[in-house]
């Protein structure tokens, strides 16, 4: 198992290096001088040159790459062109919204999807299964911003249980902040839960057809016991893959929902960064997202090995 973890870690580091090179190269080849852009059309060449110096855009490619990576390793992500504040602070403030929102949505989606998927699989072809398949189809098809607006209409405007948007900050206390994130989390969780429930259903169904389930039944386990003791753990392997992918998607992919609810999240930050050609911000946020994807993948790999002893020996 230790060997497995070490090889996975090595592969994680290698992926990070490759990703950083790719991101840096892409940003390098984008046309347009950020300094000229920021200072406007009538800027003096001297002023542009001075800004380039300040932004660290001078020097050879290798120097710039190394100083960028070196900075990130020491927590210095550079300074945003437009906001004129350290990117690290900017990202940290946005992460304080996006990370809890992502986890919230993910917990909701998983907590709903896995039992629902199992119930559907256990009663394959029966009423519960048909209802689940229909509902999840709808959940995938409905645009989540529309669903978000319906949620606002019902819970904020009519029932007045939640506010329609905005984020009070964690300084306002844990519960008020969580309350502000509840409707966005539900809106985000709906399509994810629908996908996950379907994956769980088909995975459990496949596992139920395996010979070892028949063996378990021959031992005297009831259908339900066989599902819980033998099918579930085996069925969780594809489910975890999807959960890992969903985490990465939600972290930055919530931009529409952030806009609907006026949340200062990462998605909006990167969108603004791109429109304002704030390349330092874009570069850093993209790198952060890549980092999170790779780390989550690593965690999923470790979880695979924890579930499946056959993987532990492999490097």
């Amino acid at each position: 198992m230790a060997r497995y973890v070490v090889t996975r870690l090595a592969s994680l580091c290698l992926s990070l290096v490759v990703a950083s090179l790719v991101i840096f190269a892409v940003i390098e080849v984008i046309p347009g001088d950020p300094a000229a852009f920021m200072l406007g059309l009538n800027a003096e060449p001297e002023a542009v040159a001075a800004l380039r110096e300040e932004l660290g855009l001078t020097g050879s490619v290798a120097e710039r790459y190394l100083s960028w990576v070196g900075g990130m390793l020491t927590g210095d992500f550079g300074t945003s062109y437009t906001y004129r504040v350290p990117v690290a602070d900017l990202v940290a403030a946005r992460l304080a919204v996006s990370l809890p929102l992502t986890l919230y949505a993910l917990v909701l989606s998983t907590a709903i999807a896995i039992p629902v998927g199992m119930i559907a699989a256990a009663g394959r072809g029966r009423a519960a299964d048909i209802a689940v398949m229909g509902t999840t189809q709808l959940g995938i098809a409905v645009p989540n911003f529309w669903f978000a607006m319906i949620l606002v209409l019902i819970f904020a405007i009519n029932l007045r249980i939640f506010s329609a948007g905005g984020f009070p900050g964690w300084e306002a206390g844990f519960w008020p902040a969580m309350k502000a994130l509840t409707l966005p989390a539900i809106a985000l969780a709906l399509p994810q839960a629908s996908i996950l429930a379907r994956v769980t259903r088909s995975s459990v169904l496949e596992t139920l057809g395996q010979d070892y389930i028949r063996t378990a039944r021959a031992k005297g386990l009831s259908r339900r016991q066989a599902v819980i003791r033998h099918a579930l753990r085996n069925a969780m392997i594809p489910v975890m893959t999807i959960i890992g992918l969903q985490f990465s998607f939600l972290l930055a992919g919530a931009i529409i929902i952030e806009n609907v609810f006026f949340l200062p999240g990462l998605g909006r930050l990167i969108f603004q960064g791109i429109t304002q050609r704030d390349l330092v911000v874009v570069e850093s946020v993209v790198m952060l997202l890549v980092f999170s994807v790779i780390v989550v993948t690593f965690l999923v790999d470790i979880a695979y090995a924890a579930i499946d002893p056959r993987l532990r020996r492999r490097g």
């Binding site: 395996q210 010979d211 070892y212 028949r214 063996t215 378990a216 039944r217 021959a218 031992k219 005297g220 386990l221 009831s222 016991q225 003791r229 033998h230 753990r233 085996n234 579930i307 499946d308 002893p309 056959r310 020996r313 492999r314 490097g315």
Partner: protein, 534 residues
């Protein structure tokens, strides 16, 4: 005293009749053999007794056990009975265990689920049962996972699991069909010992008459959902009253007519010289050199035109690797392979060489693309020949030669039975008019009667075309029936080679002797008294 009595058992699945009026009785502590071909309803009979029929099954009739009728017993009570009073093991040990749980937990679960013991007690009971089935604590601690065990060892775990609560009846559905002959002998031995020592009855389901002949007190023969004949084993084997029983015996003893005495040909079709194939295993530590597994070790032999050569050995002995090397699918670490005067060098074997050898695999279901018609399947090797002008005629010819009709070329593979599919595989192999056909367990998945037909076909085709056969099988009786010479392989080496009859009647090597001794055989005096056969 009767332990279990089935009466008027009739079963349909989604309206399709599977069993018709099946009745039998199993005495306490006896071995009851249920014999028949695939699809005859043997497994469904067992599953009906266990109450584990698939969805859509409707069953009528009675299965009386201990004053209850198992067919009408509520599911809760069936759960209490399964594993406790009736245990069951299945054919495929490789997939019968949960891959993510230790063997100890899986054996202990039988006790825990029936409330017979706490987890701790159950684990020590599991230890005792695993010891009993021959998996000792030093080599097989409870913390082992199924993937760390061989097929035979896994079947032992399944047996330990099924007998953990000392049931009155153990149902074994083809328990040794997926195993090697020596492993089969050990498992049958183990089952026999359990029956004797624990007074357990055994319902042994198999397609192999020889397996029941050595074990069962009573035998019933099943055909298309009905029991056509049932009697005490010796009586049934001697009388063979029903026509179907006679057909089964005849097929299992079938000896295809072969032209005896191969004309000596100076130039061999295939020559294998000191072939070595190593596999690199994963390193044990980062800096240690990677260990190697020698799968094929200095193997040499020659195969003449028109000759049939058998290759026997247990799984893992290297016979599949050697086969793949001959087909040019494995790079060699030493030695050389020559086919009709040209070297076979993996991985780039010229078409001119490749068309001279074709292969027929074991699985008649998995070795065809289900979306292609037969004409396309059969002509797959045509790319080796370049432009074939008389394509249509050759397809028809190949199909007729293997006993099918030209009209069959329009069909898809799912429209054929297992035996017909193997005929199509033969047609595909024949179509390039090869010098060598490799038959890799080509009849192992077939029922005895179909197998007899295919063996006849192989003999006829060889007489007509004079190609050489390399016949790989774990089934010694088939090899004996169809080959002129035989090679015995163990741990990558050929340990014995010679004329087939010679090797089988007077084996020289200890391993060959073990293999032959392990092969179940119907007692010869029983066969002699038969009306038909022998």
């Amino acid at each position: 005293m009767t332990l279990l009595a089935a009466e008027g058992l009739t079963l349909a699945i989604h309206g399709t009749p599977i069993l018709r009026d099946v009745g039998f009785a199993i005495e306490e502590g006896e071995v009851f053999g249920l014999v028949g071909e695939s699809g005859s309803g043997k497994s469904m009979t067992a599953l009906a007794v266990m109450g584990l029929l698939p969805n859509g099954a409707t069953v009528t009739g009675q299965v009386a056990m201990g004053g209850r009728d198992l067919i009408s017993l509520p599911e809760r009570e069936m759960c209490a009975l399964r594993g406790n009073e009736v245990g069951m093991i299945f054919q495929e040990p490789m997939t019968a265990l949960n891959p993510v749980q230790t063997i100890g937990d899986q054996v202990a679960e039988t006790l825990v689920v029936h409330g017979a013991a706490s987890r701790g007690e159950a684990l020590s009971a599991a230890r005792a049962r695993l010891d009993r089935v021959g998996l000792t604590a030093d080599r097989f601690p409870l913390t082992r996972y199924p993937h760390e065990l061989s097929g035979g060892q896994r079947q032992r775990v399944c047996i330990a699991m099924a007998v953990a609560l000392r049931p009155k009846l153990l149902i074994a559905d083809e328990p040794t069909t997926a195993l090697d002959v020596t492993t089969q002998a050990q498992i049958l031995d183990l089952l026999e010992g359990l029956v004797r020592e624990e007074g357990m009855a055994l319902m042994l389901i198999t397609h192999d008459l020889a397996v029941v002949s050595g074990l069962a007190t009573h035998v019933a023969v099943m055909q298309t959902g009905e029991i056509v004949e049932a009697a005490e084993t010796e009586v049934l084997f001697r009388k063979r009253a029903h026509a179907y029983t006679r057909a089964l015996f005849a097929a299992s003893e079938h000896q295809p007519d072969r032209a005896v005495g191969v004309p000596p040909v100076p130039e061999p079709v295939l020559e294998v010289r000191e072939v070595v194939r190593d596999y690199t295993l994963p390193r044990s530590s980062l800096f240690a050199p990677a260990p190697k597994l020698r799968a094929v070790d200095q193997v040499s032999f020659r195969l003449a035109a028109g000759e049939s050569l058998g290759l026997v050995g247990e799984s893992g002995c290297g016979k599949s690797t050697l086969t793949r090397a001959i087909l040019g699918l494995e790079p060699l670490q030493g030695g050389e392979i020559w086919l009709a005067g040209a070297p076979v060098l993996a991985p780039h074997v010229p078409n001119e060489v490749r068309r001279r050898m074709q292969v027929v695999f074991q699985d008649p279901f998995g070795s065809f693309n289900p979306r292609h018609r037969v004409d396309r399947l059969v002509t797959e090797p045509f790319h080796l020949l370049g432009d074939v002008p008389d394509r249509a005629r050759r397809i028809d010819e190949a199909l007729v030669h293997v006993g099918l009709t030209p009209a069959d070329k329009e069909k898809y593979i799912h429209e054929f039975s297992g035996g017909q599919r193997q005929r199509i595989a033969m047609a595909r192999a024949l179509i390039t008019r090869p010098d060598l056909i490799v038959l890799d367990e080509a009849v192992s998945a077939l029922d005895v009667r179909i197998r007899a037909q295919i063996l006849d076909l192989l003999a006829d085709l060889q007489a007509e075309y004079g190609m050489a056969y390399l016949f790989i099988s774990h089934d010694l009786s088939v090899v004996r029936a169809i080959t002129d010479r035989v090679l015995v392989m163990q741990a990558g080496r050929i340990v014995e080679a010679g004329e087939t009859e010679q090797v089988f009647t007077a084996p020289a090597h200890g391993y060959t002797k073990d293999l032959i001794a392990a092969t179940p055989r119907i007692p010869s005096e029983w066969q002699a008294a038969g009306l038909v056969g022998a």
